[in-house]
């Protein structure tokens, strides 16, 4: 049985159809990459899967672990094991990263029927997971993402993922705007979190990321539809020939 099963998904935003019939099957532990030019609907797919308001599903269905994912609101999806690493992580002045994460971790644990962590055990847990992402203690005390560099923000996204232990992680352009060192830390973090119980949907504009996070499958999204699927060799083909082959103008940028 698939962990995630997307069938004929049509999604509109403000009455304009963005996704025009997406089909996608992901098994447990698999890493799928979705590549596509700007405006192809990549971010819409990530938001509609994670439950953001304002995305109207006009047709199709999404099942996650056999459940109707679209019937759940955002925090229920998180508790069920869906995680979105944001393309643009949100700044929350006045709320420390620590308070934010403790609230999130315990909300998810409560929903999953696991005992909540007290302050001391939370700190231990955070330190342990923080090592994977080379998170400085100081970043935990600062307000969420406020004054973080681009790289620190993306690391914070993957750090949160490590803390929330999802079964499906959606990485929305996690590599955009990162220099090679930051990319290395982030992608090593992601690779450490790969496991047979965790699937990942890696959305990217750049082929470069797939050198670091090697996917099992690659899909090409163009104009709201998946126009090609294949193994990792598809990325190389795209880099060589561009999206033109799939009827799209925009060439994929190679790092």
């Amino acid at each position: 049985m698939s962990l995630l099963s997307v069938r004929n998904l049509h999604v509109s935003v403000d009455g304009k159809e963005i996704l025009k019939g997406i089909d996608l099957e992901m098994g447990s532990g698999e890493v799928h990459a979705i590549m596509g030019p700007n405006g192809s609907g990549k971010s819409t797919l990530s938001y509609v899967l994670s439950g953001r308001e304002g995305y109207e599903v006009t047709e199709g269905e999404v099942r996650f672990n056999g459940q109707d994912l679209l019937a759940m609101v955002a925090h229920e999806r998180a508790a069920a094991g869906v995680y979105l690493a944001f393309q643009y992580p949100v700044e929350i002045p006045g709320v420390s990263n620590m308070t934010f994460l403790k609230t999130a971790v315990n909300a998810v644990r409560r929903a999953r029927g696991v005992e909540e962590l007290d302050a001391i055990n939370f700190l231990k847990f955070a330190r342990e997971k923080g090592k994977i992402l080379e998170m400085k203690d100081e970043l935990m005390k600062r307000p969420v993402n406020v004054g973080f560099s681009g790289g620190e923000k993306k690391r914070n996204e993957i750090f949160q993922m490590a803390m929330l232990e999802p079964t499906l992680a959606i990485l929305d352009e996690t590599d955009s705007g990162l220099d090679i060192d930051a990319l290395r830390i982030v992608s090593e973090g992601v690779n450490r979190l790969r496991s047979p119980e965790r699937s990942m949907l890696v959305i990217t504009h750049y082929q470069r990321l797939l050198d670091h996070i090697v996917p099992d499958y690659i899909h090409v999204l163009a104009k709201g539809k998946i126009v090609a699927s294949g193994g990792k060799e598809l990325a190389l083909e795209l880099e060589r020939e561009g999206y033109a082959k799939f009827g799209v103008e925009d060439a994929p940028a190679a790092a």
Partner: protein, 433 residues
């Protein structure tokens, strides 16, 4: 304009004038009631009262002389700040049994006004000379109790001083007119907290005046928690004068009263003086809260920062009138002002008006104001991490209001303000505008 309740106050004054404390103040009280009889209650025709209408207050029949049973002070034990010296003013009168003051540095006076009233005439007279407004005049006419704090040169108070005002007139509509005087000598330091609370079937009115003079290089932290009964009226004026290198830090948080007005006027009279004015209101239902400030920079090299935050639910309304005056000689003034308002319902309304009058040319004066609702992107971000909507909202609102009292360093004092915020937050979500 002859409001019937203006006449009632004048008549009450005639009956009470000989019984009011402080024989030396009698003449001053007489001119004050004459000024009130002449001017009446402030109306929206006055620019500084444009957004706050006292119509309902001026029509109500408040009795400054009502004979009411004493307040059971133990009922207000939660409002006492742990480790503080506490002066309790119950129904406008000093409650000696409920008050407790420990040992103080030599020469320090910490006393209820009723016991120190013979020494305040000169200072009050001087204060009357300014255009104080008719509510201050009414306070002067009827003031009976409050706090007098005098710090000699170099006195540093180890414990915060709390003045706890409680009103419970039962079925009687009481008006109370507490007065506080704080005069500090060179290099002295103190933290003073004014707490206002009340109960009772009938609406009451607190009309408070606080005078503060901060001496050269002295520091006063002046915090105010307004947790009046939700049917009450609360008007208050704090007038602060800063000497050379004086430091003044204010926090004024309002969660109570049907209608409240908190006026904070700071006059910079010595160079190097600095003031930080913070405050805000957390409102719901049909509450109305007005914060009106004035930072009057009169001499060179002074600085002020104003930070006001309001959160409005239901059909409540907030007003912020932020005044900054930089007089001709006040070169190198550095002032800033920020007012942000968070609207939690479509029926809430925030009025914000920066009022900068600048007559010097080499100054920095920044100001900014916003009115908006909760950031939907931030809410989604929190939800996407598994935090349910109510908890996410509370986290964002908590962060927003946290700025009001974030400068309070003393833990017990901070807890006093956090309790007011937490108390208001527990009422969230239970309201249908």
């Amino acid at each position: 304009m002859a409001d019937s309740s203006v006449e009632t106050f004048v008549e009450s004054f005639e009956r009470a004038r000989n019984a009011l404390p402080g024989s030396k103040l009698s003449e001053m009280r007489g001119s004050a009631i004459a000024a009130f009889a002449r001017d009446g209650f402030p109306t929206p025709r006055l620019e500084s009262w444009k957004y706050t209408n006292l119509n309902r207050l001026s029509r109500a029949a408040f009795d400054p002389l009502a004979d009411v049973a004493s307040v059971e002070a133990s009922a207000w034990a939660d409002l006492r700040i742990a480790g503080a010296d506490v002066i309790v003013i119950a129904n406008g009168r000093y409650d000696a049994a409920a008050s407790s003051v420990g040992s103080l540095p030599a020469g320090t006076v910490l006393s209820p006004l009723s016991e120190a009233i013979d020494g305040v005439e000169a200072e009050f007279r001087e204060a009357e000379e300014g255009a104080a407004g008719s509510l201050v005049a009414l306070n002067t006419a009827f003031m009976r109790d409050g706090l007098v704090l005098r710090l000699p040169k170099g006195a540093v108070l180890a414990r915060p001083v709390q003045i706890l005002h409680v009103v419970d007139g039962g079925a009687k509509s009481l008006s109370v007119h507490p007065r506080t005087l704080i005069v500090t000598g060179e290099n002295s330091e103190a933290t003073v907290i004014e707490t206002f609370a009340g109960a009772g079937e009938a609406a009451y009115w607190t009309n408070a005046v606080t005078e503060i003079r901060v001496g050269a290089n002295a520091g006063i932290r002046h915090y105010k928690r307004q947790s009046e009964a939700v049917s009450a009226f609360h008007t208050a004026v704090s007038r602060v004068r800063l000497d050379r290198d004086a430091r003044y830090e204010a926090v004024a948080l309002a969660t109570g009263a049907a209608l409240s007005r908190n006026e904070l006027r700071v006059s910079f009279e010595g160079s190097g003086a600095d003031a930080e004015l913070r405050g805000g209101a957390l409102l719901r239902g049909r509450q109305h809260a007005d914060n009106t400030t004035e930072a009057d920079h009169r001499v060179p090299h002074t600085s002020s920062r104003q930070v006001f935050r309001n959160v409005l639910d239901g059909r409540s309304r907030s007003v912020f009138q932020g005044g900054v005056i930089v007089e001709k000689d006040a070169q190198k003034t550095d002032s800033s002002q920020s007012n942000r308002n968070l609207l939690l319902s479509a029926g809430a309304q925030a009025d914000t008006k920066p009022e900068l009058r600048i007559f010097a040319d080499d100054v920095k004066c920044a100001h900014g104001a916003t009115v908006g609702d909760l950031d939907r992107t931030a809410l989604f971000y929190l939800n996407s991490r598994g935090i349910p909507p109510d908890e996410a909202k509370a986290l964002l609102i908590g962060a927003f209001v946290g700025e009001i009292a974030e400068t309070i360093a003393d833990e017990a004092v901070k807890a006093h303000f956090d309790a007011a915020i937490a108390g208001w937050m527990t009422g969230l979500g239970g309201e249908g505008a």
